[in-house]
């Protein structure tokens, strides 16, 4: 690297630091508000937390049924993740086999990605009502049980498994289920990780669908709890922001741990359709 090149790096670092500060400021502001004990409406606000404490986090447990929301979110997400793993893996495996109409199935799946879930809410609600699944865990998870992007992530990963390995397994008399379980999946751990992370985050963050089909507070998930907190309490208490921190922290931890799988999954999923 020449001296001139090195000099050129400083403006880039400066620009990136400025961008990082802008991107991180909202995180900081919410965290600061969550641990502050001052009147959050005082003007001018303090840039550093005044007398930091954790009362707001305790308040959350009294103000709303936090454990209930958490439990519901966890149950729905577990159903969604399990469903995605099993259904996407078998569907992705089927797409690697030769069969008549394979191309039409792929085109059908890809055109389905163009139908945003939000454009289906009214009939989806009516269908779920007919199935008698309104206000149930299964009803909450059902539309999320299989994801087209994740099917293609599995398919791409299975396609990369050497043919000779599969042929050898067939000669040894292994059936399709065993080939999938013993050969394909052990060689596809990145695809499995991507599936788990993506389906977990999609289900965990889902708001519109639970908003439509849950009737009782007992069935509400965390995002609904957050929205409900804001509309009942307004934004007058630091507890709201403590709640935000509590909701976001697990997701951010999962993301930071599985960052590379997550980003890779998004881009492969995206470029593979």
């Amino acid at each position: 690297m020449t001296h001139r090149d090195r000099l050129l790096l400083w403006p880039r670092h400066a620009a990136l630091v400025a961008i990082s500060i802008i991107m991180l400021a909202p995180f900081y502001w919410v965290l600061k508000t969550a641990i502050t004990s001052e009147n959050i409406y005082a003007y001018p606000p303090h840039l550093l937390p005044e007398r930091p404490q954790l009362f707001n986090f305790v308040d959350v447990w009294y103000l709303i049924p936090f454990p209930r929301y958490l439990f519901n979110s966890v149950v729905v997400s577990l159903i969604a993740v399990a469903g995605n793993l099993v259904l996407n893996a078998i569907a992705g495996y089927a797409l690697t086999l030769p069969f008549i109409g394979r191309r039409s199935v792929i085109v059908l799946l890809l055109s389905c990605t163009l139908i945003p879930f939000q454009a289906t809410i009214i009939p989806a609600y009516l269908i779920t009502a007919h199935l008698d699944l309104l206000n149930s865990y299964l009803g909450l998870a059902l539309p999320l049980l299989s994801t087209i992007v994740c099917i293609f992530i599995f398919k791409a990963s299975f396609d990369a498994v050497p043919r000779s390995l599969i042929d050898a397994a067939r000669i040894d008399g292994l059936g399709d289920v065993r080939i999938l379980l013993r050969v394909m999946l052990p060689l596809s751990t990145p695809a499995i990780a991507t599936n788990v992370v993506l389906s977990f985050i999609w289900s965990w963050n889902n708001f519109l669908w639970p908003l439509i089909i849950t009737r009782s507070q007992d069935m509400q998930t965390l995002p609904l709890g957050l929205a409900r907190f804001l509309s009942y309490m307004e934004d007058t208490t630091g507890a709201l922001y403590a709640f935000v921190v509590m909701v976001l922290a697990p997701g951010l931890l999962v993301f930071l741990m599985a960052q590379s799988a997550f980003m890779r999954g998004l881009t492969t999923g995206a470029t593979k359709g």
């Binding site: 880039r12 670092h13 990136l16 961008i19 990082s20 991107m23 991180l24 400021a25 909202p26 995180f27 919410v30 508000t33 959050i40 003007y43 001018p44 606000p45 259904l87 078998i90 569907a91 495996y93 086999l97 069969f99 199935v105 792929i106 085109v107 059908l108 389905c112 163009l114 879930f117 939000q118 454009a119 289906t120 009214i122 009939p123 989806a124 609600y125 009516l126 269908i127 539309p143 049980l145 299989s146 087209i148 963050n205 708001f207 519109l208 995002p223 957050l226 929205a227 804001l230 934004d235 922001y241 935000v244 976001l248 997701g251 951010l252 993301f255 998004l266 881009t267 995206a270 470029t271």
Partner: protein
């Protein structure tokens, strides 16, 4: 391959594909068709539906000012996506290279993307707050404004404010997509251009941009879909208010369907929005040269 094995394999394929296909048929394709049918009917929960032809559409186009306002707001929201993509491209170019700490910057910019949108809405609801919000504070400290602005209660500022929040959330995603596009450009193209003495500007417009077309197309499609998924953000930040200043088609659809129980009219609105989505995607597809979204 023997016939029995072939039939067995066909059975396996059918069994393996059936559950996923069933879910997509029940929750994607059937709703699409049902929406269209519903939009030509007068629907009520207790009586059988009645065919009313184009009535819902004519009400939407002729008698519904809120529809036009929501449509206009959706168009503005869509118009902000290319701006976000351009910003993301700038950042992607900055962090694409062996810059020290590039992965840290990447993670920071991406950090807001996997967040729950409801939480993003609450965060920015607070950022824009008149008294406790950081934005009013900074603007007043810098002397740009002298009176606090209630951004989310203002007819002029509410929509731009929600757009800022949306941009903050999706920027990292656009950046990652563009970065993977940049990394797919063969380096020898740049070397050849440098040998030929092409200036940086020419390298950007002649090599980088054309080679990025598939990634840009993907960003545009995601940006278009964003105008649907912005529901969570708008619902929590402003609920379409003040008045209908931040009403998007999707929030209006929700209000008509689940607030006013007008499933038939909301279905007509959905069809209109879906048609818009398809037309825009097609235009984007053509604009990048036709084959950018090609499969395999």
């Amino acid at each position: 391959m023997t016939t029995t094995r072939r039939t067995r394999q066909a059975a396996v394929v059918a069994c393996f594909l059936a559950p996923s296909l069933l879910i997509f048929i029940v929750y994607r394709i059937l709703p699409l068709v049902w929406n269209v049918v519903l939009s030509f009917e007068a629907w009520s929960p207790l009586r059988p539906p009645v065919w009313v032809g184009w009535d819902n559409y004519s009400e939407m186009l002729n008698d519904d000012d809120v529809f036009w306002q929501a449509l206009w707001n959706t168009v503005i929201f869509l118009g902000s996506q290319p701006v976000a993509i351009a910003l993301a491209l700038g950042i992607a170019l900055l962090v694409n290279s062996d810059l020290k700490g590039a992965s840290v910057y990447r993670t920071i910019v991406f950090l807001s993307y996997p967040l729950m949108t409801v939480a993003v809405a609450i965060i920015w609801h607070w950022m824009f707050n008149e008294r406790g919000g950081l934005i009013n504070y900074v603007l007043r400290q810098l002397g740009i404004i002298h009176q606090p602005i209630a951004f989310l209660d203002s007819f002029a500022w509410a929509l731009p404010s929600t757009i800022v929040a949306n941009t903050w959330q999706v920027l990292g995603f656009f950046m990652i997509v563009l970065l993977s596009g940049l990394q797919n450009i063969p380096p020898h193209l740049y070397e050849a251009a440098r040998v030929d003495g092409a200036p940086a500007r020419a390298r950007f417009f002649r090599i980088t941009l054309p080679m990025l077309r598939p990634a840009l197309f993907l960003c545009v499609v995601i940006g278009i879909l964003n105008s649907f998924s912005a529901f969570d953000l708008i619902y929590v930040m402003t609920n379409g208010g003040p008045g209908h200043a931040t009403e998007l088609l999707i929030t209006y659809i929700y209000k008509q369907a689940f607030g006013a129980t007008r499933f038939d009219y909301a279905a007509a609105l959905t069809v209109a929005q879906f048609a818009m989505l398809l037309v825009l995607t097609w235009i984007a597809h053509r604009a990048v040269g036709g084959n950018a979204g090609a499969i395999e």
